[in-house]
Amino acid sequence: MQSFTLVIYASPQSPSSMTALNFARALLASGHSLYRLFFYQDGVYNACSFQVPPQDEIDLPAAWQALVQEHEIDAVVCVASALKRGIVDTAEAERYELAAANLREGFVISGLGQLIDATLNSDRTLNFLP
């Protein structure tokens, strides 16, 4: 039994994000635990609710959300990465007077300190680059 943190730098359009999702599913199925998912850089698009993938493609943000909600995983989206890419929760949307919020339920926006905290508190931290 080990605890893992996965850092996702890749957008949902990168195969690396799918690999990370499959890895997360596999480690949970093997009885390991997920301390945290940390979405960094283009990885923040995995937490966006405004994407409409073609019908013959997987809806990766929806698949992440299902996993996060089913296993009550701590899923953190880097605030600096998110704001510059237009991913906001209702608080940030109000703060910057944006037309809408688009962060999926189950994800939280927080700082890079959450990545270092996760590194210190999980047995293994894996990076999924684009």
Partner: protein, 122 residues
């Protein structure tokens, strides 16, 4: 948070202005240092070009993250490592570098990676 200090090695391997990853890596370095961890930074492969001293982005809108490198010692990030082979491959001389770095050969790089508790390979 655990009390034990961890050895965190961050690797910058992409050339300047080619990717967002070097800046992402530098942000991890600064945050880990703020958490008072034992942080090392390795410039690997084309990443060594970040250490070129005579860089200016004044004529473009590009962000020059190398400007932040001399302030790393204020964060007590003193273990700056450099891929010796990449330095040679890019025809760089040690006296052209922004800050002093330890030049490592491939075996020493392997050892640095093996000695780290955590590696962020960007």
């Amino acid at each position: 948070m655990t009390a034990k200090k961890q050895k965190i090695l961050v690797i910058i391997r992409q050339a300047p202005y080619s990717s967002v990853l070097p800046e992402a890596a530098l942000d991890i370095v600064l945050t880990a240092a703020a958490f008072e961890q034992e942080v090392s930074l390795l410039f690997f492969s084309q990443g060594v070009l970040h250490l070129l001293a005579q860089e200016s982005t004044d004529s473009s809108a590009m962000k020059n993250i190398s400007r932040a490198l001399p302030s790393l010692e204020l964060y007590e990030v003193n273990n700056i490592l450099l891929d010796r082979e990449a330095l040679q491959a890019n025809a760089l001389q040690e006296d052209e570098l922004l800050l002093p770095a330890k030049l490592l050969n491939p075996v020493e790089i392997s050892a640095a990676i093996a000695a780290a508790d955590q590696v962020f390979n960007c």
